[in-house]
């Protein structure tokens, strides 16, 4: 029979046709289906970011389910009771470490906003790179 081994779905790379014995599953998993993709939000870039966020959400849920499995296995083996996890209250030292983690996490996720504030605070560090290039050319 005529196999359809070519076309957009056959290749691991985006435009190449792959050898039959080299299924590049990582890339092919995300192949586009035929037909122009409809965008529903007015700015397609927003919808792209939404799709990225939803994929992150998916893997967060996966990680949660994995940890849940680990907890249940540990409990079944007698290593750790889930009730102990629920009852855990950190002592002051642990509390401080955990809060510091949260603070650093907030700093990581809001980095770009912090930098916008810094851009306002230090306008001298906000010169277009093209201008800087020309300035450096005179240095």
């Amino acid at each position: 029979m005529k196999t359809e081994l070519s076309g957009s779905h056959a290749g691991g790379s985006i435009t190449e046709t792959s050898a039959a014995d080299a299924v590049n599953d990582i890339v092919m998993a995300g192949n586009k289906s035929k037909g122009g993709r409809p965008y529903f939000l007015e700015d397609p870039a927003v919808e792209r970011v939404l799709n990225i966020s939803m994929a992150i959400a998916a893997d967060l849920a996966v990680l949660h389910e994995r940890l849940d499995t680990i907890e249940r296995l540990l409990e079944a083996k007698g290593h750790l009771k889930r009730a102990e996890i629920e009852a855990y209250v950190p002592d002051d030292a642990a509390a401080e470490e955990r809060q510091a983690w949260h603070a650093r996490f907030s700093a990581r996720i809001l980095r770009i906003v912090q930098q916008e504030v810094e851009a306002v605070a230090n306008p001298e560090n906000n010169v277009p790179m093209r201008t800087i290039a020309d300035e450096i050319n005179e240095m």
Binding site: T3, L5, R37, P38, F40, E65
Partner: protein, 399 residues
Amino acid sequence: MSYQLPPVWTKLQQHAVFPEFNHDERARYNFLANLNRFVSTVIAPGNKLAYDRRVEPNFKKEHGRGFADRFEVGEAMKQDPVYQMWAALRRSTMEMRQQNGRAVVLRQAKQLASKVAEELKGSDSLQLNDDFRVPPYLTHVDNHLMPGSYHTEYFPGDVSNAANYDSGLFVTSGGMLGSLTDGGGRAIAAWVKETYPDFHPTRILDIGCGLGHNTLPIAQAFPEAEVIGIDAGAPMLRYGAARAHALGIQNVKFIQADAANMNEFTDESFDWVQTTMFLHETGGKSIHTIFGEIKRVLKNGGLNLHIEQPQYTPQMSMYEQFMRDWDAYYNAEPYWGHMHDLEPADLMVEAGVPKDKFMQVGVKAINDLDKKKQDGKVTEDYGRSPIWNVFGGWKSAGK
């Protein structure tokens, strides 16, 4: 908590040629099923609210008339932010489902092909056709946003797309089709047995059988019959035959054939010709050829049934038509809309069923999961709910 939860993915029955899922891959599907449930029960009702409260009133105010057709509804809805966000999310979950499923099967594509070949060793239940040409209406589109659709194989013997389909429908349907995704086939088999207790078919044809998930319950319900499933997609047939074998079902064959040209079969050779969610994946010319072929291969006095979504009739609100049309454009089922504009009774005439013998009933999926997962009000999720329209009839007994 009165919120209804979908069943976990592990309730899906694992047969011998089922792809292996690791822990996280299973969890990824659990997330998607739950996300779909929330989007369809909490977010989707916002579409109707937006339509009733602002989209339609604003259109009437602006144009001095109501909507003329579902396309006008669509143009207006496209401007509404609630619809926009719902649609963006729905499309996103469907694409994620494809990516997630493909990631699973493609990483084990070779092993799957071997398992299938092993299962089919010595069996004659699969007949592929080396000279087969996939109909253009299938090569033209990736149905359900599944890249490569039913027919693409990434190497000889490949079953990736079939395995992906088999393992993911449970998620998209929220488990409502049962542990073997066979709720549609079970429903039609039960309905036929109950409605026609004296009907004892010996040869049954399931056109567009795919991987046979709705064919097998018919074969099980009529163990005396020889059941033949045909499809254009070699990976589907290959996987379907191996799956049937793995599930111990013997009276079914999977044959690669074109529904519009079934020269494999002689005239008047089947007691019953069935299609399930197939017609809307054909084409506007082919569908008529297909009905002609059905007429040819169906015995006089034979039964012809089609499970489909409801047709669009003047009685169906334009809003509902628009929502049901959604999958046509956005879930890559492009013939869906045109097909549902046809008059089923006219199609049946082409199959040899007189207009006054035309029948149409609603059926609901029969599934084998926990009772409480089936009960309760099903939120209408246009084109996704496990509730279908069955139409068909008995072919005239001949001259």
